[in-house]
C-alpha cells in the first residue's frame, strides 16, 4: 500500500502510522453531553467501502493526513493534509 503525501510524494505504507477514522477530528465542545463524547471516542460507521481516515507521516514530514480510501479494495482516492483541510483550524 502506498500513500501520496502532499509534501513528500508517493511513499510506502510503512512510513505512516494509522490513527483511525476521520471522526477524531470532530472533537466535541468541552461541555458537550457524554453521548457526544462517547460517539466521538468510540462509535463508528466503520464502512465496508469508502472511508476517510487519519494517517501520520512519522517517518517523513510529521504531517497528519486525511486519506479517502476504500476499505474493501484498498484503493486510495485522495490524500490531504489535516492542517490544510477546510474549516480545520480552531
Amino acid at each position: 500500500m502506498r500513500l501520496t503525501c502532499p509534501l513528500c510524494g508517493a511513499r510506502d505504507r510503512r512510513e505512516f502510522t494509522y490513527y483511525g477514522a476521520e471522526d477524531y477530528l470532530n472533537r466535541p465542545a468541552p461541555d458537550a453531553p457524554p453521548q457526544a463524547w462517547d460517539d466521538y471516542l468510540h462509535n463508528r460507521d466503520n464502512p465496508a467501502g469508502v472511508t476517510r481516515d487519519l494517517w501520520y507521516h512519522d517517518m517523513g514530514c510529521s504531517s497528519w493526513l486525511l486519506v479517502t480510501r476504500n476499505t474493501v479494495t484498498h484503493e486510495i482516492l485522495a490524500v490531504e493534509a489535516v492542517a490544510d483541510r477546510k474549516g480545520g483550524a480552531a
Binding site: 500500500m1 494509522y18 477514522a21 460517539d39 471516542l41 468510540h42 465496508a48 476499505t71
Partner: protein, 416 residues
C-alpha cells in the same frame, strides 16, 4: 450418527459408503423462536448451547456463505486462559473448562491439544507484568508457572539466547494453553446443533432486520423473510454492517490480521510460543505446518488480505527469536477481518431494541472464546440476563468508563 473408532473401522470395511451428512440442509421456515445471524464459530456455538442448555431447538442459524467461513477458519488456533483483568479472567477461564470437555460433549474430535503456552518476557518490567497476569490466573483457579531463562531454555532450547535483540529473561508458562483444529470446532458445533434440531441455513444472507415499536420481529434474507422474536447478531468481521440494519452504530473498527502457515515439517515446535517484544506467536499443527501470526496490518479494512510490511515484520520477529525456522517455507498467508473494540475486549449484550442481542468485538482473540461466547450469548438470549462470567462485556461500558483494557494501549480505536 455417532462417531467412534469402531465406527471408523466398520465404515472403512464397507467402503465408507455409510457415512451420513454431518448436518442437514433445511429450507428456512417462516418463523423461529430465535434466529442467530452468523454461522461462524460463535454463532454455531450459540445455537448449540441454546439447544443444549436452554432447550430452544426451534431456532435457525443464518449464514451468508458456508458454515465456518469467517474467522473460525482463519486464525492461529490458539486456546488459552491467561487474562488478568476481572471480567476477562473469569470468562476465558470458563471457556477453557468448556474446551476441556468439548470432544466428548460434541462427539467430535476438535483436536484440542493442551501442549502448553509460553509467553516470553524480555525485561524486568515485562516480567512483573506477566507475574501480575500469572497471579491473576491462579487466583481465578487456572494455571501459571514462572520460568526463568534456564527454565525457558530447558523447554525451548532452539530459541536464540545469545544474539537476539531483546534477550530472553524468562517466560510465563500456561500448561493448559494450547491449540485446537479450527475448522473442526465449527463443524463440531454445527453437527451438534443440527443433531439437536437447529436449522443451519447456508447461503442465506440477512439483508434487513425488522423492528416494530422498538421490538425485533424478524429478518429479511436472500431466501425470504423469517420471523423471530429474538435475534442474535453474531457476525464478528461484519458487525458494523449488520448492526447498521438495526440503525445501530457500534464501537467497532474492522482490521486485518494476517496469519501464516508453512509447509509440513517433522515435529520441531512442541508448544505455543509467544514473543514479548513484537507480535509473534507460533505453534506447529498436527499436520506439521508451523502456524504463526503477528500484529494487525493496522488500517481499517475489509479486504481479507494483508500487505508486506506486516508480513516482513512477523518473519523478522521469527528470525530474531528462533532462527532455526529460517528454512521453513511459508505456504500460505491469509487475512481475517477483526472486530476491534476500543478497549480490546468483547461485547455480549442486549441492545436498545427489544429481542435484539449482539455478540461482537472479539478483536484478535475470538477463537479461544468460541465455547464461552456461545455459552454466554445463549444464556443471554434465553434468559434475558447476562451470564455472570460475561457480565462486564456490556455495550455501554465505554460511555460509563468501565474499560477492560488488557493491553493498556487506550480505549480508543486509534490507540491499539
Amino acid at each position: 450418527m455417532r462417531y467412534s473408532g469402531l465406527r471408523v473401522i466398520t465404515e472403512g470395511l464397507f467402503g465408507n459408503k455409510g457415512w451420513k451428512p454431518a448436518w442437514r440442509d433445511p429450507a428456512p421456515k417462516a418463523e423461529y423462536d430465535a434466529i442467530i445471524i452468523g454461522g461462524g464459530g460463535h454463532g454455531l456455538s450459540t445455537a448449540y448451547y441454546l439447544a443444549k442448555n436452554h432447550g430452544m431447538t426451534n431456532i435457525a442459524v443464518l449464514e451468508k456463505g458456508y458454515l465456518g467461513s469467517g474467522n473460525i477458519g482463519r486464525n492461529t488456533t490458539i486456546v488459552r486462559a491467561n487474562y488478568f483483568l476481572p471480567g476477562n479472567s473469569e470468562f476465558y477461564s470458563h471457556s477453557m473448562k468448556l474446551w476441556e470437555g468439548l470432544e466428548l460433549d460434541l462427539n467430535y474430535n476438535v483436536m484440542h491439544s493442551q501442549r502448553g503456552l509460553i509467553n516470553l518476557f524480555h525485561s524486568d518490567g515485562q516480567r512483573d507484568a506477566f507475574v501480575r497476569r500469572g497471579n491473576s490466573m491462579i487466583n481465578q483457579g487456572d494455571d501459571a508457572i514462572l520460568l526463568d531463562r534456564e527454565g525457558v531454555r530447558e523447554m525451548l532450547p532452539y530459541l536464540d539466547f545469545e544474539q537476539t535483540r531483546f534477550p530472553i529473561y524468562g517466560g510465563l508458562y500456561h500448561p493448559r494453553g494450547g491449540t485446537a483444529r479450527h475448522d473442526a470446532v465449527a463443524w463440531g458445533y454445527a453437527r451438534g446443533a443440527d443433531r439437536r434440531g437447529v436449522d443451519l441455513i447456508q447461503n442465506c444472507e440477512v439483508t434487513g432486520i425488522d423492528i416494530e415499536g422498538g421490538r425485533v420481529t424478524g429478518v429479511q434474507t436472500t431466501r425470504g423473510a423469517i420471523k423471530a422474536k429474538k435475534v442474535g447478531m453474531v457476525v464478528a468481521g461484519r458487525s458494523s454492517q449488520v448492526a447498521a440494519m438495526a440503525g445501530m452504530r457500534l464501537p467497532i473498527e474492522s482490521h486485518i490480521l494476517q496469519a501464516f502457515v508453512t509447509e509440513g515439517l517433522k515435529p520441531v515446535i512442541d508448544h505455543v510460543v509467544s514473543f514479548g517484544m513484537g507480535h509473534f506467536y507460533i505453534s506447529q499443527s498436527d499436520k506439521g505446518g508451523l502456524v504463526f501470526g503477528g500484529d494487525l496490518d493496522f488500517y481499517a479494512s475489509y479486504a481479507s488480505r494483508g500487505n508486506l510490511p506486516m508480513v516482513e515484520h512477523v518473519m523478522e520477529a521469527g528470525m530474531t527469536l528462533m532462527p532455526m525456522i529460517g528454512r521453513a517455507k511459508v505456504l500460505r498467508s491469509w487475512g481475517g477481518i477483526m472486530d476491534m473494540s476500543p478497549d480490546g475486549s468483547p461485547i455480549i449484550d442486549k441492545t436498545h431494541i427489544d429481542g435484539l442481542f449482539v455478540d461482537c468485538g472479539w478483536n484478535y482473540g475470538g477463537f479461544k472464546a468460541v465455547p464461552a461466547s456461545g455459552f454466554c450469548m445463549a444464556h443471554l438470549m434465553a434468559t434475558g440476563e447476562s451470564h455472570p462470567v460475561a457480565a462486564r462485556f456490556t455495550l455501554n461500558r465505554f460511555a460509563t468508563g468501565h474499560i477492560l483494557d488488557e493491553e493498556g494501549t487506550g480505549s480508543q480505536h486509534n490507540l491499539h
